[in-house]
Assembly symmetry: C2
Homo-oligomer: 242 residues x 2
């Protein structure tokens, strides 16, 4: 377990001898997040983060073992607290959870560039997982099922966020200038003989409008499918109980 993980959990090591630390992992991640929010992930350099904190670049290495670790710490620190299940029906909570997660990712698109698919180890990210597990356990599912569903829902949030961000023309390597370009490009490339399904979809305008509301409708549609599948499982379980 890298030392930075302990620090993410607030366990800054006791210092006995020597000068008191002028920094903390928290201050460092805050600075880095500020830069990422303002200038994108490319703006986050060891030197830029250090400059923002008025220290030398090398000072950061007392707190993180590498830039990689800094990025990991950033992704956790950037997460807001998850929505609370409260008295919500599981379906409403799962909807709220997934939607909030997606919105969070779209607020901080640089997160999408920092492999959002690796298992979380920080307190913020794990509290998201925790709340979901609680809600699913209340709905009668086993922990194993809960973990699996959590993976699925978060993957869905990440992928739709990523798609939305790409289609909005976010800093992207696909070379698309504006929204809607994607469909146009595909139409030019995919000939109907080799790509019948794709061509049909293009003809039907399935890639057409990338307006906000379309994205959102799509998001709800796909999420609905997932929840339907989960619902089937839950009712099955409930019947078994009886």
């Amino acid at each position: 377990m890298p030392a930075v993980v302990a620090r993410m959990w607030g366990q800054e090591p006791r210092t006995s001898h020597g000068p008191r630390p002028s920094l903390s992992l928290q201050r460092i991640t805050e600075a880095a997040i500020g830069i990422a929010d303002a200038d994108g992930l490319a703006g986050v350099r060891m030197s830029s983060v250090a400059a923002r904190l008025d220290v030398s670049p090398m000072a950061l290495y007392g707190y993180v073992g590498s830039k990689e670790e800094l990025l990991t710490a950033m992704t956790d620190a950037a997460a807001p607290p998850p929505p609370e299940p409260g008295e919500l029906h599981w379906r409403d909570y799962l909807t709220a959870w997934t939607r909030s997660y997606r919105e969070f990712l779209l607020t901080r698109p640089w997160l999408l560039e920092v492999s959002p698919l690796t298992p979380p180890t920080g307190p913020r990210a794990l509290s998201w997982l925790d709340r979901l597990l609680v809600a699913l356990s209340r709905a009668g599912l086993t922990p194993g099922e809960g973990v699996n569903i959590a993976t699925t829902l978060s993957a869905y949030a990440v992928s739709t966020a990523s798609l939305a961000h790409s289609l909005r023309g976010g800093a992207d390597e696909t070379g698309m200038a504006g929204p809607g370009d994607y469909g146009v490009i595909l139409t030019r490339l995919a000939d109907p003989a080799h790509y019948p399904g794709l061509s049909a979809a293009l003809g039907a305008g399935a890639f057409g409008g990338a307006q906000e509301w379309v994205e959102d409708a799509d998001f709800g549609f796909g999420l609905g499918l997932l929840l339907d599948g989960i619902e089937a499982l839950i009712t099955r379980r409930a019947k078994e109980e009886r």
Copy 2:
């Protein structure tokens, strides 16, 4: 549209004057993929790719505009042809599709590091999308629904592949040495008071074994949920038709 996209579609520009090109985007991507397979993504450098082709690093820039573009081209070229729908029932085909896609990603784990969530523009990746759209259209869904489902399934494949790869201890920044570590680390970090759901899941061993067959069972379970949701939609559609 970047020039490299046209080249990915086999449209190498006609050359009239001057010496005949000794390279092609295909040869370059093949070399790069060979390196990535052998040494991981970190081994893919403009210089290493060039060396494998016996040219100078700068020669590559006649074919790709940047390393980014090379990576994009690699991800498309690495994809095998998708499974064919044939006469399969949609549910069987979707299963085969998702499973093959996941397996492909696990065969080439470096793909997981090259943002696998951006919209595809290459012929190989789009043929995967196409076949899925065909199958879904046959099952009676609209193109819009098909695109959405395709997104969801591929996200599922990517995320489970990514998880499996992480848990296997693949080149990973979580700092986990071996399989099973993840659960152990979480147990040490998450106290039951603040993480009731997570603690319960840990106690139940939901993160315990990362053996191959467990992963696979989990994969099938989550996929089943998705397919159940899709099935509900398809039967609803079928009834509307009548």
